[in-house]
Symmetry: C2
Subunit: 336 residues, 2 copies
């Protein structure tokens, strides 16, 4: 529970119960702290505390409502940070995070032992079997940061023959690198000045590391791309500076996929107009990619779980927030 | 020549000459006034007058530089408002209006009897033969407003099964309707409260007319699309209001193709983020579409020239500006 900026407490709450016939109750195997949880933690978003926290989850179904048919008790499941019906026109077009019946999981809070997941049929995807403990961090990553980085790479048009630049070296940016590599990008430029993150970016498929930021970062990317700019930019920060850096680093006709939750951003219309970029992003429709991502993890083709460089018991949630806030950890996994 | 806001004069100037071996000199058959020429005319863009005006042109090649190979004297040709080499990586990707060697034709001025066109091989496209006089307005439209409306429709993802809404009932918006229809859109909603423009929109393939603006316009489009919003929005105005109306009228995952030259526009990052739209636009790479558009006009499949509802001798250029400024004319053709 977040009581206010910098004030996270672990406390006993009543067990969740089925409210609607489409709900499921899951027992969390693992959960974690998101970069976006740091906005209220830092007082940059308002908190009406005490507020339940957490929207990433992987765990085992305990109980299902009477209308749930696609998952059953005992299944190991993963879902996204928005519950979605997966049947409306918006969902069917692949934008489940904008489902007309969506419910934010963050309001329920999955930094917990158990959680109620609405619209279970549309939201949850079961793994082929109970995963080895070693795969759990990767499945947890699929719930948000992997799915979000993947969406950003797709929105940025990453693929064969493309040069992709990644603005932001948090978990989402790093998994954007992984996604771009999986999608076949020819060259992947990671912007990072943090050595451990640079190393992980290289493991995930980055071909170049750029340490410059802002205008210098833009100039360096142009230099690496014959003056044209990159074809594809993944933006995974959400500030004015990072958005403008992303737009300016793209060549005309290039694609910017932006998934950093926008904070105090105002895009100047004239610069955007003459940049001639494609701009697409928003809350990632992670559900669209879950079946594919689960398969890649199950087959051990990808290892997104490496972004969890800190693992703590759920009871130490406050320490997990602190470590991420101080950038001592890329991402903290919590074990209930 | 524009001397200042509201002050357009026709005067004698020296004939243009070949400056570079890649130039061509054309004798204009027809030219016209663009909606974007009204920004300086209204004092909304600065004019360092006396400045040559005009960037739309169709005419006959008079003379070519020694390196020009794709057009020859006597050819009837059309080009776009940016000269482009059509060989750089940006051009080859279809973004000729951002060519690394681009030159703005507006700085040369085609509201004239003759004009020098740089990079003639990359810029000019010849028609299959000398067109009938009746086809000239349509070929002139291809130079900018048709190509721009077409690009907007492509950027908006207009096509079979799609509902397209068009914000802006100027020549570009109306030709965006035509383009959407040609691209196979299922439903085309034109926003207009001007009866003659509504009529032309219907002739060009609009299926619905919406007269409401701003939030009411958005609400009406949602009403017409089961609450989801349109799949595709063509934005052809360039103001804060029109851009926000376009973004808000699109469904999540939908596409906004924007070609109105942005004036005092700042897009709020958070609203854009949660809209989950695709945003693409800028100065239209008309050159990409010219061969196809010329063919459609030559075959008399489309008649974009109808947007010219006023035809005047070049000597009456001042009256042409005035008529468009007062919205008495959709678009004024000038005959040298």
């Amino acid at each position: 529970m977040m009581y206010g900026p910098g004030d996270v407490r672990v406390e006993d709450r009543p067990d969740p119960a089925i409210h609607k016939r489409t709900d499921a109750i899951i027992r969390l195997t693992a959960t974690c702290v998101c970069g976006s949880d740091l906005w209220p933690y830092r007082g940059q978003d308002q908190v009406d505390g005490p507020a339940p926290m957490g929207h990433e989850y992987a765990g085992v179904v305990e109980e299902i409502g009477s209308e749930v048919t696609t998952v059953k008790p005992g299944d190991f499941v993963i879902g996204s940070f928005f519950a979605s019906d997966n049947t409306c026109e918006i969902c069917r077009a692949g934008y489940q995070s904008s489902c007309i019946h969506r419910e934010p999981i963050g309001a329920i809070g999955t930094q917990a032992e158990m959680a109620r997941i609405p619209l279970a049929d549309g939201t949850l995807v079961a793994t082929p079997g109970t995963p080895d403990a070693g795969l759990v961090p990767s499945f947890l990553a699929a719930s948000d940061v992997l799915g979000t980085g993947w969406f950003a790479a797709v929105a940025a048009g990453a693929g064969p023959g493309k040069t992709v630049a990644v603005v932001g070296d948090g978990a989402v940016g790093l998994l954007g690198v992984l996604a771009a590599a999986q999608l076949g990008a020819e060259r992947i430029i990671a912007l990072s000045r943090h050595e451990p993150r640079q190393q992980l970016a290289l493991q995930y498929g980055a071909t170049d590391i750029v340490t410059e930021r802002g205008d210098q970062g833009v100039a360096r990317i142009k230099e690496l791309t014959n003056g044209y700019g990159a074809h594809s930019i993944i933006e995974a920060v959400g500030t004015q500076e990072s958005m403008m850096q992303a737009i300016r680093s793209a060549r005309p006709g290039g694609h910017v996929g932006y998934v950093g939750v926008a904070h105090d951003v105002a895009l100047p219309g004239d610069e955007l107009f003459f940049s001639a970029v494609h701009l697409h992003g928003g809350p990632a429709p992670v559900r669209r990619f879950l079946p594919e991502l689960i398969d890649l993890i199950w087959q051990r083709t990808i290892d997104p779980g490496k972004v969890f460089d800190l693992k703590l018991p759920l009871d130490d949630a406050a320490a997990a927030y602190q470590a991420m806030d101080e950038r001592r950890a890329i991402k903290a996994l919590l074990q209930p």
